[in-house]
């Protein structure tokens, strides 16, 4: 085979000669022997790439940086500079040799013909679809000049806004915030649409969000999977749940939806959406009344048990619990008592449950139930939600000094993000923080100065943010929208400039999980394709150009190497926690943090140092010291719409890939048979689902996996479809989130719609 590494590089580096080179290859028949369609511009190339033996590949360590519980440790097989295939690292007992359906599509993602390849400018204006390829120098020059012009006119850079979230959770990707730090005081879309109400709830109760190791679940005697669907969204956790079940543990799924996980449980309990908090309170009352609570633990470790019990005694009526949740009282009693009798027992709470107007209060009520049962601080126990216990990196890429003389916002401080809470000295100025969950509204209403430039990175605003029609208006009034992404998505369509960024296989990084306790290095396995650059390199180019135009205007390093930046993120505490001497040991495979049982020492980081059933902070911030039942948002249309995560995508990623279309080509709306019958809808009919926010047209599937009165559509972004479930979601806030993440969450699952057959 006359195919060499040098030739691949020549092709990738020289796009003009590429076409003619390809033609030559095709004519000689060589093309069909090339792997992976890497050189084919339009579509996949051919078929079977034989496995050629372990020794014939170079291997690299990678990690999946997506916003996912599982954060897989990956081993990448490369031949002649081209990725051949990946596998889960076998060293990690959590990943155990396999990724998921999404991870297994990475080779296609890297070499997809749909990838962004060059910087592009939408010369016809936002949304026009008239694009022109531009050089990196041109793109960076336009952005740098705009920033300096704004700074001159406004006297500050607060007119420049950054929206970035979970597209890549690699630690060096905080260099994107670092880039904005390095130009001055700017505007940030702060908060998280994901899990903020629950973070606040756990922090109010325990002073931290800190879950037990999921691998311990294998030894749990009773597991309640409460509003969580690991069979679709954390598949690597299922083996521990199965093992517990095989050893005799009862696995109960409480969920409004008969999920994939429910279908593999011991018991499924369908609950009316948004009433979980009351069920938890009722169960706690039953346990206490039966004297099955852990009085000794409660006396020693909690604050406010008396007030909490008084509330249960006085306000929580078991008949009401049954009526409101829709679950027979006998079943609730049996569930509560068997949970209390099993030791250790654990509850895993999903993020969907807190995406309600009463979400935080529900998480608090379930935390309290676990506390009452005496399962906090116990091996294989715990009120599981997530953790950031292994995230103690340096955030070196993030921490950049402001240029001298920078002028910023002098309002009240509010700088927060759930991951990288780097302490800084009190300054005269701060950045300006807008609520990420009301992006459209906030971009339009920000004044003095108004937002003129928006930088979008690690985020697909139009897929993930709310009120699409308002978003279009907000984008249109901006002078310059820059979108750094891997694909030409809906957000890119409303940009002025798009910049192609690397996948994790084309750069260095380091990754940990917010669920398990493994640490993975992410090595650069291949050279970046086409003209693609990493977010850090883009920041460096911007810094270089800004400093050429105005010396001292940007403090970001003017040339970066992602490997060097990654090394800078490590510190002795990380090494100590993971029992390694150097980051280089990670090249041999991922490592796990030393085992710790959260709160086993009875030390909580709350003001009282105890588990706070009664929280003054909660009283101050959210008006209720106790985890009282709060009624969920009232319907404003005929049917509740829930929009959970599907197995096929991670937010707006993966579903757009060619390979994913082979298995899951189109979206569906799932409708209960009773509701479908009333509207004369059968499976496969086209229906319109609509409300005051917007309308979606898609095919129906009729199933009693969803309960009557509820329709379900997954949150997904397709390649050639305008389908976007968030088009129907307004930006109503959940109860909590502002305490620890800077802004409240969004009550996504308190969306109401109607539908009709088309």
């Amino acid at each position: 085979m006359s195919y060499s590494k040098a030739k691949v590089e020549e092709i990738l580096n020289n796009t003009i000669s590429r076409r003619s080179f390809l033609k030559g290859l095709a004519a000689s028949g060589v093309l069909s022997a090339l792997p992976g369609g890497v050189l084919e511009a339009n579509e996949d190339l051919n078929t079977k790439i034989p496995y050629s033996g372990e020794k014939s590949y170079q291997t690299f360590r990678n990690a999946c940086p997506r916003n996912c519980y599982d954060t897989c440790s990956i081993k990448t097989y490369v031949k002649d500079g081209v990725m051949q295939f990946i596998e889960g690292a076998t060293e990690s007992t959590y990943t155990r040799g396999g990724c998921c359906v999404k991870g297994n599509s990475y080779v296609k993602r890297v070499y997809s013909a749909r990838r962004l390849k060059y910087p592009m400018m939408q010369v016809g204006g936002k949304g026009s679809g008239t694009w022109k390829r531009i050089s990196w120098d041109q793109a960076i020059d336009i952005i740098a000049k705009k920033l300096l012009e704004m700074k001159k006119e406004d006297g500050t850079l607060l007119g420049a806004a950054l929206t970035k979230y979970s597209g890549n959770f690699g630690i060096t990707h905080y260099g994107i915030e670092g880039m904005f730090n390095s130009i001055g005081y700017t505007t940030r879309l702060a908060g998280t649409p994901c899990w903020p109400a629950g973070i606040d709830a756990q922090n109010l109760d325990m002073g931290d969000m800190w879950c037990n190791d999921p691998e311990e679940m294998k030894d749990s005697k009773f597991i309640i999977l409460w509003g969580v669907n690991p069979a679709a969204n954390s598949i690597h956790s299922m083996k521990y749940i199965y093992e517990a079940k095989r050893k005799g543990a009862k696995v109960v799924v409480i969920d409004p939806i008969f999920t994939e996980t429910a279908s593999k449980s011991s018991q499924y309990v369908q609950i009316k959406t948004g009433t979980d908090g009351l069920l938890a309170l009722g169960m706690a009352k039953i346990i206490i009344d039966a004297k099955l609570h852990d009085q000794k633990w409660l006396d020693a470790n909690t604050k406010g048990y008396k007030e909490y019990k008084a509330y249960l005694d006085k306000e929580v009526k078991l008949d009401d619990v049954s009526n409101v949740t829709g679950i027979p009282l006998a079943m609730i009693k049996e569930l509560a008592l068997s949970f209390a009798k099993a030791k250790p027992a654990t509850i895993w709470m999903g993020y969907g449950m807190q995406r309600h107007t009463n979400g935080g209060s529900m998480i608090r009520a379930i935390d309290a139930l676990v506390a009452v049962s005496g399962n906090i601080g116990k091996y294989a126990g715990g009120a599981r939600y997530g953790h950031l216990n292994t995230w103690g990196f340096n955030y070196a890429a993030l921490s950049q000094a402001k240029p001298e003389g920078s002028v910023g916002y002098s309002g009240p401080e509010g700088a927060k993000g759930e991951f990288a809470q780097v302490g800084g000295e009190k300054a005269a100025y701060t950045d300006r923080f807008l609520n990420i969950n009301k992006t459209a509204r906030e971009l339009m209403s920000a004044k003095e100065p108004k937002v003129r430039l928006l930088w979008v990175a690690c985020k697909n605003v139009f897929a993930q943010d709310f009120d699409r029609n308002q978003l279009i208006r907000a984008f249109q009034q901006l002078d310059l929208v820059v979108v750094a992404d891997q694909f030409f998505n809906e957000t890119a369509k409303w940009a002025d400039i798009v910049l192609p960024v690397t996948t994790q296989f084309e750069e260095y990084d380091v990754n940990v999980s917010y669920w398990h306790y493994w640490l993975s290095i992410n090595e650069q396995a291949i050279k970046p394709l086409f003209e693609i650059k990493s977010d850090l390199e883009i920041a460096a180019m911007l810094s270089k150009r800004m400093n050429q135009l105005q010396a001292g205007s940007c403090t970001f390093p003017q040339s970066v190497d992602t490997k060097e930046m990654t090394i800078k993120e490590f510190n002795p505490a990380i090494y100590e926690q993971f029992g390694i001497q150097s980051w280089e040991e990670l090249k041999k495979g991922p490592v796990k943090a030393k085992a710790v049982i959260p709160f086993a020492d009875g030390k909580f980081k709350t003001p009282s140092g105890k588990f706070e059933l009664y929280s003054d902070k909660a009283q101050e911030l959210f008006g209720s010291a106790l985890p009282k039942y709060l009624e969920v948002r009232q319907p404003y249309d005929k049917f509740r719409m829930t929009s959970p995560h599907s197995r096929w995508s991670l937010h707006s990623q993966f579903q757009n890939l060619e390979w994913m279309e082979d298995f899951h080509p189109e979206p569906f709306v799932y409708i209960n048979p009773d509701d479908a019958e009333a509207k004369m809808v059968s499976s496969d009919d086209m229906v319109a689902v609509f409300n005051r926010q917007g309308v979606l047209r898609l095919r129906a599937k009729v199933t009693d996996n969803v309960q009557k009165g509820t329709v379900l559509m997954y949150e997904q972004h397709y390649h050639n479809s305008i389908y976007n479930v968030n088009e129907l979601v307004d930006d109503t806030s959940s109860d909590m989130g502002a305490f620890k993440t800077g802004a409240p969450g969004v009550a996504l699952h308190d969306t109401f719609v109607n539908f009709k057959k088309l």
């Binding site: 996949d44 078929t47 599509s105 027979p328 199933t703």
Partner: protein, 211 residues
Amino acid sequence: MQKAFLVDGSICLGCNTCAMACKNQYHQDQGVTWRKVREIGAEDYLIDNNNILPTLTSYQKAPKVSMPMERFYFSLACNHCENPACVAICPVGAHTKDPETGICKHDQSICIGCGGCVKACPFGASKFNTKMGRAEKCSMCWERQEEGKTTACVQSCPVHAITIIDLHDPKYKALRSDPIGIDYAIDAETKPSTRFIHPFMPKEIYRQAKG
């Protein structure tokens, strides 16, 4: 020895990791899948657009089963039959049955694209690649197995819902060869090797009362 896939529908999550692991390893063209995670109760056998419908008379419709939509699955690829139709029909010997392992291998480099195997296979395991003008199918990762690794699909399954067994081992004798709820050539003369563990619903299920 007859190597065979044992598919456990009682623990299969339907996550499709196995099917994508196959593409990750072999990079089949868009539209071509060697392994498919079939939903029990759904009639997707008939709408697999990559598949020219099986022509053998032993093909039969499965009895209807009542399982919830999109919850129970069997992951299926080539059945590595004891008496494979593809091997019998291939005019150039591109399909072979490994005498030692029983794996039905396909060598695409000598395939002439006549499509005989695609028509002859009662399970639609052989796929026709229209771009290449040749057939292709699962060869049970024999190259990986020769090196002591397991198949891509088995390695990546998060819950061991697919495993490889030796059908001639007496301890597997009692396993079922009929998948429920999926149209399948149950009594095919080819003697498919795949074995199944059937799924079941949770013992206790409570749904909200109607009205």
